[in-house]
Amino acid sequence: MLDKNGIAKRIAKEIKDGYYVNLGIGIPTLVANYIPEGVNVVLQSENGLLGMGPFPFEGEEDPDLINAGKQTITTLPGSSIFDSAMSFGMIRAQKIDLTILGAMEVSENGDIANWKIPGKMVKGMGGAMDLVASAKNIIVAMQHVNKAGESKLLPSCTLPLTGVNCIKKIVTELGVFDVLPEGGFKLLERAPGVSVDEIRKATAGKLYADDDVPEMVVG
């Protein structure tokens, strides 16, 4: 089974040289720590920055320079800054190669719910609906089951949707999954030490798994 950093590490292997990538809050943010040496990636922050650098050194924080999580950050050589409309313009026009975000639920036809729980204070969708509606390549990074032990890979989402029919790939602590165009989750890799049976038990949606699904190589 993978921990959060393990999920991030496995997802980092999906990033190709030359990609422009948008990372959501939570596990996706950790992916930045595991981008392989020699792979050149430009991180987008949807408040209006391409080329997000690491956190500033103590004492060098700039209140005018933050990321979409409102954290102080830095720029890098080659960074560019633009307004919020252009930022979502490049997302909508599919100039961003890969979006990695968290989810509360994903359905077997690729619907995603990650912004609202009825009865709880709703904070808003931020840029999530724009990202999932437009990105050509979205990977969901999430825990396989929720805190109540219920599967987050479902026949259909129970929570209010963020987007429909848009998720193609999911990485959880148990494995790597494709969402098939005809519906259903296809198990591509098992996490180290996890059996197909365990994954089947934790997956409420339709799961397709060969008997000899390979164990993933992390790192």
Partner: protein
């Protein structure tokens, strides 16, 4: 050159009245018009509809106006950091319309570009789409979203000149340029107000034609919401 300079925030917002719709620039607490927010709190106008990506925090930004119960409705994409906001929302005192962030920005852009509406895929198939016209282009569904109609846009820039030309700094640019274009009346507060001729025309982000009033701001606090740093040893 037309001179758009007013003395201060109080003068800039003097004719804002109860019940009007205001756009306020900024993302989180970054690039918010601090001086005008203070002046609005002092003036005490109420029943306002505020279009702003966020709603500030309890004791800063739009949170200060919420505390004084000046806001009737917020139109935002994310409002998570504010306990007073949550209280007013749950008690029904405050109306909130949550819309996707890109939709928010582009509805401002449309207003500034003279276009009545935009088509965006954001929200298709979700509750955001309820009651909205959907059009299919090249096999994909899009929602029609209207350009905003705001009485005032209030923005914060880094530098500006007396003709209203604006330059923004770093990610405090965010919503400011698109909101600056979208107000019936646009008010800009700037950290440094200069005479015409001092700014290179090639470096202007917002042409002065969009700006009606400009003033030299003061005492900027520029509060940081999430101070994240690394130590020199970590490298």
């Amino acid at each position: 050159m037309i001179n758009k300079v007013v003395a201060n925030a109080d003068e800039a917002i003097a004719d804002i009245t109860d019940g009007q719709t205001l756009m306020l620039g900024g993302f989180g607490l970054c690039g918010i018009p601090e001086n005008c927010i203070s002046a609005l709190v002092k003036k005490g106008v109420k029943d306002l509809t505020c279009i702003s990506n966020n709603a500030g925090v309890d004791d800063f930004g739009i949170g200060l106006m919420l505390k004084q119960r000046q806001v009737k409705k917020m139109i935002s994409s994310y409002v998570g950091e504010n306990a007073e906001f949550e209280r007013q929302l749950l008690s029904g005192e405050l109306e909130v319309e949550l819309i996707p962030q890109g939709t928010l920005a582009t509805r401002c852009l449309a207003a500034g570009y003279g276009m009545p509406a935009i088509f965006t895929p954001a929200g298709v198939g979700t509750e955001v789409a309820e009651g909205k016209e959907t059009r299919n282009f090249n096999g994909k569904d899009y929602l029609m979203e209207y350009a905003f109609d705001a009485d005032f846009a209030i923005v914060k820039a880094w530098k500006g000149d007396t003709a209203g030309n604006l330059i923004f700094r770093s990610t405090s640019r965010n919503f400011n340029p698109v909101m600056a274009m979208a107000g019936k009346i646009t008010i800009a507060e700037v950290e440094e107000l200069v005479e015409v001729g001092q700014l290179d025309p090639d470096h202007i982000h917002t042409p002065g034609v969009y700006v009606h009033r400009i003033f030299q701001g003061k005492d900027y606090e520029k509060r940081i919401e999430q101070r994240t740093v690394r130590s020199k040893e970590q490298g």
